[in-house]
Amino acid sequence: MEDGENDGKRLVFVTVGTTSFDALVKAVVSQNVKEELHKRGYTHLLIQMGRGIYSPPKVCDGADGSLAVDYFTFSSSIADYIRSASLVISHAGSGSIFETLKLGKPLIVVVNEDLMDNHQCELAEELEERKHLYCARPHSLNQTLTKMELDSLVRYTPGDGTPVARIIDRFLGFPDD
């Protein structure tokens, strides 16, 4: 599942999507989360912080062996970052979730508790039940990381739209291909 390693570099990519989710950014750069990530052998932490106003302190390639931290706001090539990551920590948007799952990366989804209509946590919880990912809240991210066992995750198989197309085609009286 982990194929993002490159010269011993193991990247944790954090993405908040188009919104702002400072609680998540703060949670990932908190000391105990960084320590836990470091303990698990991750070397780099890259944060896509969206419209958030909290900029985490940057840490250049730590000579002391600590986690290197970097961030940016938006990018058109999020898929590339996900592809190069060994672990993805994401907000609960369906786009980010399925993008990561399709690329077969281990994923922790952090649900934004500040959102009013929070149907998104339904999706994350359902996928967690199916063991495709881990679901956490900003304050429980550290516990999730501690108990996380990447080997127990089940690889997600993408769905298929052809049944929909077939039903629509038949309904409209088109012959089957």
Partner: protein, 322 residues
């Protein structure tokens, strides 16, 4: 005196004829509405038409990505001409739709007139006050009506944004009045696991959608008229996996079809798969332009290192539905 009588009778007569006229009108309308509701959801006879004027309603967030995934498995020559509609505040959806259409690029000569991209006013923006929303609702309704009169779609594809509700209601009225018969296909967003979205619920309850699709088995149990289309292959229970359509076909469907079919679909249309991958590499893509102008903030070295590690061989073909 006689005149007076005469006037009285004529008044009575006119009152009677008006009320009987109104009554018969109401009866005709009710019968017509019932007939339309009865006919909704009835499939067309084979070979009814070679192609249908199609209205595609796009929405922000994951909606547009899901809709274009669906379009990528439809035979587009059957859904021509196509009209894309997105909310006036949503700048990226139509842009994505254009990129998608460009990727089809089979017959550029035909395409120009058969494709249109339109924005529609929304009745209420998030956070807008209710007083001003009276005016904007009227405006949005008139605009929707005008667009629908212009387009007169035969097929409407939508998957959740609130903008689809007025359009679908107008489509139903068109059916009742006899302006245009249309079929509405609604695919509930994959993000809805246990509850339908408000748009979905309305279209389901009012029976406005001819065919209704959900992407989770829980929802299909709750809403039995919906078709369940599997998005998760191997982990779903096999019973629900094959329950989505005609029961007699269940024997032909293997318990793990999605991945296989996806591969086949992408083999058939590799260029589409590739473009989809490019367009929807992530939901954040709508910020492409901003990122392009501002660049990445912070230490660029980390970013360039990452970009160099890009490996095309690992591109996973985009699945049709999500």
């Amino acid at each position: 005196m006689e005149e007076h009588h005469c006037c009285f009778y004529s008044k009575m007569l006119s009152r009677f004829s008006i009320s009987s006229f109104m009554l018969s009108l109401v009866i005709v309308l009710v019968v017509r509405v019932l007939y339309v509701m009865y006919q909704c959801g009835k499939p067309f006879p084979k070979g009814a038409s070679r192609s249908f004027t199609t209205l595609i309603v796009l929405g922000s967030g994951g909606h547009t990505a899901e809709m274009l995934s669906l379009l990528s498995v439809l035979r587009m020559d059957r859904f021509t001409p196509r009209f894309y509609i997105a909310a006036a505040t949503d700048n990226m959806s139509l842009h994505k739709a254009r990129s998608f259409e460009d990727s089809l690029a089979d017959k550029p000569a035909v395409k120009e007139d058969s494709l249109q991209y339109t924005q529609i006013y929304r009745s209420r923006e998030v956070g807008q006050s209710y007083v001003t929303s009276v005016w904007t609702t009227i405006l949005a309704t008139v605009h929707a009506l005008w667009l629908m009169i212009r387009i007169r779609p035969q097929v409407i594809l939508c998957n959740g944004p609130g903008t689809c509700i007025p359009l679908c209601v107008i489509a139903f009225l068109f059916k009742v009045v006899g302006i245009r018969w249309s079929s509405i296909f609604y695919v509930e967003s994959v993000a809805r696991v246990k509850k339908l979205s408000l748009s979905g619920l309305l279209l389901y309850r009012l029976r406005l959608a001819d065919q209704f699709f959900v992407q989770w088995p829980q929802l299909q149990n709750k809403y039995p008229r919906a078709h369940y289309v599997a998005i998760i292959g191997t982990t779903g229970s096999p019973n629900t996996l094959i329950a989505f359509e005609n029961r007699e076909e269940s024997s032909k469907i293997s318990p793990v079809p999605p991945m296989l079919n996806t591969c086949q679909a992408n083999e058939r249309k590799p260029h589409i798969a590739k473009t989809m991958e490019k367009i929807f590499s992530a939901s954040i893509l709508s910020w492409k332009t901003i990122a392009a102008t501002t660049g990445t903030i912070g230490n660029p070295t980390a970013v360039t290192v990452l970009e160099n590690t890009e490996d095309d061989s690992k591109i996973n073909p985009t699945a049709p539905i999500v």
